[in-house]
């Protein structure tokens, strides 16, 4: 086990996984190399690797890269309106509907981490349905332009801002925001 743990291949594998999860499906090689070095220098300490990740400029690129999993999408939707699901009973059916049934990953390896898995045709339609339903419930009391700014901050692009501002109704504006490429990524 010890031999395995200190192997540079293990260091590379763990570094790649971490970088892919937090930064990009195709992580920058320089970042992976730095993480790998941290792993080997610290004797495989994950807390050191986490610090290295946080310190990495690549992790702070304002352009959103990672396509959100249903879980991330759902939670960020609730957060965008400063709310939270009242309980797992409220969230679980949504996640199941969006293709990520809670506690039921397809294999012991866990849920897929790449956009290809989640950005599927049917999955997007389901996200649209969810967004419409969510907007129908909460949007009428909100200022959509303000919501776009607080939810996306510096990532709010002119086309999305324009689409939201031009929407016919608050509900339409909010559904557009939730389905925008920027909100669908993190």
């Amino acid at each position: 086990m010890h031999d395995l743990a200190v192997s540079p291949h293990t260091a590379r594998h763990v570094s790649t996984k971490l970088a892919a999860h937090f930064v990009s499906d195709t992580p920058p090689p320089a970042l992976v190399a730095r993480l790998q070095k941290t792993y080997l220098d610290s004797g495989g300490r994950l807390d050191e690797m986490a610090r290295a990740l946080i310190a990495a400029p690549e992790a702070w690129d304002p352009a959103p890269v990672k396509f959100k999993t249903p879980y991330e999408f759902a939670i960020s939707t609730w957060r965008a309106v400063d709310a939270e699901p009242s309980g797992i009973g409220k969230l679980a059916p949504v996640l199941t509907g969006l293709g990520q049934k809670p506690f039921s990953p397809p294999s012991p390896k866990g849920w897929a981490d790449e956009a290809q898995t989640w950005c599927a045709p049917d999955a997007l339609i389901k996200r649209l349905r969810f967004s419409q339903g969510f907007a129908a419930v909460v949007a009428d009391r909100l200022d959509p332009n303000l919501l776009a700014q607080t939810a996306l901050g510096a990532r709010l692009t002119p086309p999305v801002a324009k689409a939201v501002a031009r929407a016919e109704t608050r509900r339409e504006a909010m559904a557009l925001l939730l389905m925008s490429p920027e909100f669908q990524r993190r």
Binding site: P121, K126, A173, P181
Partner: protein
């Protein structure tokens, strides 16, 4: 909502299922209202909110105005297309039923009307239109709801059509809401708008386009299984309905996504024409079903319908053809469905603002100010246009771009409330339309 349904409500809900629309209804079971106030007790009012900024110059094109054709260019309605009203105005050719009513003196236009809001923002302008306030964020209840309050909530029922009560009917009095599951295409715009957003995003763009195709195929397959009108069970058959309802069990989420907007400026295919005919049929049914509610004893006397899809920045001709055809069919359904009660009913179709007088570079028009409101009813007095026509001369245009409003929307609504519904004048100016003394009451409507 279901939890609050009274037995009386369930009965009505069944009735509607039988109408084959696939709708859910919730009605506040009020006491059946005896005709204590005589003839006035039968008076009914329907407000249709056309969201997105309905283009008055297309609804009632002033084909006789010497500046109209030049300002509008390719999106102008030509004099031979327009259904003639008088020497200046016609109606859009899709408004056949409205025109037939106009010829009997049962439909009139207010061609230069606007709410007091001038910001040209949909959200703000719709708020002002629906709250009846003099400015945005002035009030957070709808004026139609406050009308119910003033008229006595136990006596007069309100009903809104759509998944969620529009602001105009929100407030202290609990109004009923009725939601057609199929047939109202309020979500048709979203896929088109999203496809625009995904143009720079090949991954999402491709996936979404595929998803829409599959969706359209599934819809077609379902239609084949269940020839129109689609029964209510079609909704529950769709697996999505099961989890979608989990989002919020008290409010039905929009359940239908119509295929991307058809009837744009592209030449109409046979399929598009068939689709439009189907939409018209659904719209007529919506109108007649609402009428069916209103003619019941103790049924709602005040109703609001919300129609989306009027924001025509591009490809306006085809889009408005579709929308106006839909609106016309809703009105036709109301008229025929109300039968004898049509003479006791006034319908107003209004929008939050009009559109620019000049056509833009994409075959559309942008957010403007004055627009047209349609006023219909069997008991209307005959008359010409409501309000003055400021003309489209350059110096007459508002801020050199829009139809100049000559009439405050609140004045029209106040006129209908006072003369037709018999609402107390003092309450009108204080509670229903606060700070509206400057919006003169339109008289002589009924």
């Amino acid at each position: 909502m279901n939890a609050q349904m009274s037995p009386q409500v369930s009965r009505r809900s069944l009735l509607l299922q039988a109408a084959g629309l696939g709708v859910t209804v919730s009605f506040l079971g009020g006491s059946a209202f005896a005709a204590a106030d005589g003839a006035m007790a039968k008076r009914k009012m329907v407000v249709i909110i056309c969201r997105g900024g309905m283009d008055g110059l297309t609804v009632s094109p002033p084909v006789g105005d010497p500046d109209y054709a030049a300002l509008r260019g390719a999106v102008a309605v030509t004099p031979d297309q327009a259904l003639k009203l008088d020497g200046t105005f016609g109606l859009h050719p899709a408004l056949e039923s409205v025109h037939a009513l106009a010829q009997k003196g049962q439909a009139r236009i207010a061609p230069a009307i606007a709410s007091p809001d001038r910001a040209r923002s949909h959200f703000e302008a719709q708020d002002v239109l629906e709250t009846g306030a003099a400015q945005v964020y002035g009030v957070n209840t709808g004026w139609l709801n406050r009308t119910l309050e003033v008229m006595g909530p136990s006596k007069v029922e309100g009903l809104s059509v759509g998944a969620i009560a529009p602001l105009i009917l929100r407030g202290k009095v609990q109004a009923a809401s009725w939601s057609p599951g199929k047939g109202v295409d309020e979500t048709a715009r979203l896929p088109t708008l999203l496809q625009d957003l995904y143009k720079a995003d090949p991954m999402m763009g491709r996936a979404f386009a595929r998803g829409l195709e599959t969706e359209a195929m599934a819809q077609a397959a379902m239609t084949a299984l269940n020839p129109a009108p689609i029964p209510a069970s079609a909704d529950t058959m769709a697996p999505k309905a099961m989890w979608q309802n989990a989002v919020n069990t008290t409010t039905p989420a929009p359940q239908v996504m119509a295929p991307p907007a058809s009837g744009q400026s592209a030449p109409q295919t046979a399929q598009a024409i068939a689709g439009q005919r189907q939409a018209r049929e659904a719209a007529r049914k919506l109108g007649s079903t609402l009428a069916g509610f209103m003619i019941q004893d103790g049924g709602p006397r005040v109703a609001a319908i919300s129609l989306d899809g009027w924001d025509t920045h591009a490809g306006q001709v085809g889009q408005l053809n579709t929308r106006l055809s839909y609106l016309d069919a809703v009105l036709d359904g109301l008229n025929t469905g109300l039968g004898d009660e049509w003479s006791n009913t006034v319908v107003v179709a209004a929008t939050e603002f009009g559109r620019t007088a000049r056509v833009n570079g994409t075959g559309g028009t942008d957010h403007g100010t004055g627009s047209t409101a349609l006023v219909l009813g069997g008991g209307l007095k005959k008359g010409g246009i409501i309000g003055d026509w400021p003309t489209l001369k350059q110096e007459a245009l508002f801020e050199n771009r829009d139809v100049r409003p000559s009439l405050d929307m609140r004045g029209l609504f106040k006129g209908v409330l006072v003369e037709h519904m018999g609402v107390d004048r003092a309450a009108l100016e204080t509670r229903i339309f606060p700070d509206s003394a400057d919006a003169k009451i339109v008289t002589g409507l009924v």
